[in-house]
């Protein structure tokens, strides 16, 4: 339908013959400058809040963020050494890693077979199952947080890593299943057929042929569940009580209490968290979106 419209309007505004022939992808100088201008401004906006945080983390006083000019004269890494030696930083690191890695491991392990099954097999109840997976992903935290709190406190799992991992799995598992379905869809079905012809069972095909091919997809699913668990705020704030068990998302808040706000230490901690996470992110970023929209870009 769109092609006919293009043809129709094409005759209407035929470009004047005198215009110099310009090849696709080339613009005039003004266009190039404008593109660079907009992208530079956008980059500055993207960069500034982070750069500002790094800058503030170098000021030793907790009110320096209100007088950034004073930081120039007295820049120091004091905040960093204080955070690393005097606070619970490494306890928080441990908690964050335990919870995130636990969620990732369970999420990916459980979701892989399901992703494969919904990618290749059409069974009665298939559509309903997919709908349940989709609906589960859009659960507002508010739906589960109260019942989860009650259930975990009945089971004495409040303030434990296991409790938090279980809660995170409620979102990580359906999410990974969706993601992996999208990825398995991009692996040619002929491979399965070849495996079946050679006498492998559906499960054997999955383990021996498809899983090795799906490694990038598994990595993306793992990364997503890790990041989601690592950055989660609401459940972690509510379910963790002991400040040695805090994850970073909770620990960072604890620098600002009603009585005292150690904003300099908070900034330093924030930077210490941000550096490894963003470094890791950049390593895998290319695969991220392909994983998420695999089905979408294909069509």
């Amino acid at each position: 339908m769109s092609t006919t419209t293009v043809q129709k309007s094409a005759t209407a505004d035929q470009a004047p013959a005198s215009a110099p022939p310009r090849r696709r992808g080339e613009r005039g100088l003004a266009g190039t400058l404008a593109s660079h201008g907009i992208l530079t401004v956008a980059s500055l906006i993207a960069l500034f809040p982070i750069a500002w945080l790094v800058f503030l983390s170098l000021g030793p006083d907790k009110d320096d963020y209100l007088h950034p000019g004073r930081i120039w004269g007295k820049m120091t890494f004091e905040n960093y050494s204080y955070v690393l030696t005097e606070t619970n930083f490494f306890d928080w690191l441990k908690s964050s890693l335990v919870v995130s890695l636990g969620t990732t491991a369970i999420g990916v392990l459980i979701a892989a077979t399901t992703g494969y099954a919904v990618s290749r097999m059409r069974f009665p109840g298939y559509r309903k199952f997919m709908w349940v997976l989709l609906v589960t992903q859009m659960f507002p935290i508010a739906v589960l947080i109260v019942p989860m709190y009650q259930i975990l406190s009945d089971l004495q799992l409040i303030d434990t890593y296991l409790g938090l991992i279980l809660v995170y799995c409620s979102t990580a598992v359906p999410y990974c299943a969706w993601l992996l379905k999208g990825y398995f869809d991009t692996i040619p079905f002929e491979i399965d057929e070849a495996g079946r012809v050679d006498g492998l069972s559906p499960f054997g095909t999955f383990v021996r042929l498809i899983l090795p091919l799906a490694r990038p997809g598994l990595a993306v699913a793992a990364f997503y569940s890790f990041i989601t668990a690592f950055g989660e705020v609401a459940f972690a704030t509510t379910f963790l009580l002991d400040d040695e068990k805090y994850t970073f998302a909770v620990g960072l808040q604890s620098f600002v209490s009603e009585h005292d706000a150690q904003r300099n230490l908070m900034a330093a901690t924030a930077v210490l968290i941000a550096i490894p996470v963003s470094a890791f992110f950049y390593l895998v970023q290319k695969n991220l979106v392909t994983g998420l929209t695999a089905g979408g870009t294909k069509g």
């Binding site: 992208l39 099954a117 508010a142 589960l144 996470v277 870009t297």
Partner: protein, 316 residues
């Protein structure tokens, strides 16, 4: 009879692999999602709060004393006294918030993706910088924004320097909302940008050449080649964007805590009812949760139906 048994057996032989393979997820969803959900729904039919639920104080076990009150919680939330202040004002703000954020995410993301999709010197570099807000965890960047938005922080200093008014970003309701949308837009654009860039790159180059041969101008190529080519990616990321923004907890919670009642969207308001006040109102908080879920399910069903009518498939 035998036919039915045979059919059953054949169906079992045909599908048992599929059912075995989805079994782990079904079990996990049943235990970790459906059971809590059912329990949560039961709580909404009671008057449970932190004073009458079962709890342990020291060595004393106190039995739960809350009672069943039917649908009173829902009635109270939706049309009880002061329902406007408690529910509808947050509802309207949540809709405005979602529409504004997703609109800004999509339009800015698409604009940047189009710019990055040209042959341009240094576009890999731009791309790496522009992804930064996505790479750093939200709970880290929101604190950065709080430093900047504080009265006397860098934003107000800059505005003051330019002789512009310096709003109380974190205290005045209108500016709280404005700041929340601003911060969330900043956080959400990279995802849209990268997704749409992926979509742009998957559009067949020859379509553009054909359109250009036919004399289509830049706008016509955008309207009749680019937009249709992006349709399936767009429908997916817009749905995800709406769901994520509607449920966005971290940005508002970390910017304002529980101090700004008028800037709370429904999700953070439900959290406030259940965990940010004393006594904790578990029943009402859970009822908000169920209402939120209902809103999202209705929205998603309508959205899907609308997509199907337009002959598009949702990628997820």
């Amino acid at each position: 009879m035998t036919v039915a048994v045979q059919r059953l057996r054949r169906s079992y032989q045909r599908y048992w692999y599929a059912y075995a393979m989805i079994a782990p997820v079904v079990v996990v969803l049943g235990v970790l999602v459906l059971y809590p959900l059912a329990y949560g729904f039961y709580l909404t039919l009671t008057d449970a709060n932190s004073l009458n639920t079962a709890r342990t104080i020291g060595v004393n076990e106190i039995e739960a004393t809350y009672k069943f009150i039917g649908f009173d919680n829902y009635a109270d939330i939706l049309w009880g006294e002061t329902a406007y202040d408690r529910f509808w004002s947050h509802f309207i703000w949540t809709i405005v918030w979602t529409a504004a954020c997703v609109g800004l995410h999509y339009s800015i993301g698409l604009g940047l993706a189009l710019l990055l999709n040209q042959k341009l010197r240094g576009r890999t570099f731009y791309r790496l910088i522009l992804v930064l807000p996505w790479a750093v965890p939200t709970f880290v960047t929101v604190f950065g924004w709080r430093f900047m938005l504080a009265d006397g922080g860098v934003i107000n200093s800059a505005l003051d320097f330019l002789h512009l008014p310096t709003p109380l970003w974190l205290e005045d309701t209108f500016w709280q909302r404005f700041a929340a949308i601003m911060v969330n837009t900043w956080c959400g654009v990279p995802f849209m940008m990268v997704s749409l860039l992926g979509g742009l790159q998957s559009i067949d180059r020859t379509l553009y050449e054909a359109a250009e041969m036919d004399g289509a101008g830049a706008w016509q190529r955008f309207r009749y080649v680019t937009l249709p080519g992006l349709r399936s990616v767009s429908s997916t990321v817009v749905l995800l964007g709406v769901i994520w923004t509607f449920n966005q907890f971290a940005v508002i919670f970390l910017l304002f805590g529980t101090t700004a009642p008028d800037a709370q969207i429904l999700v953070t308001w439900a959290y406030y009812l259940g965990f940010g006040q004393q006594p904790r109102d578990f029943a009402q908080s859970a009822a908000y949760g169920i209402l939120l879920l209902a809103i999202l399910i209705v929205f998603t069903s309508v959205y899907r139906r609308w997509l199907n009518r337009n002959d598009q498939q949702l990628a997820i």
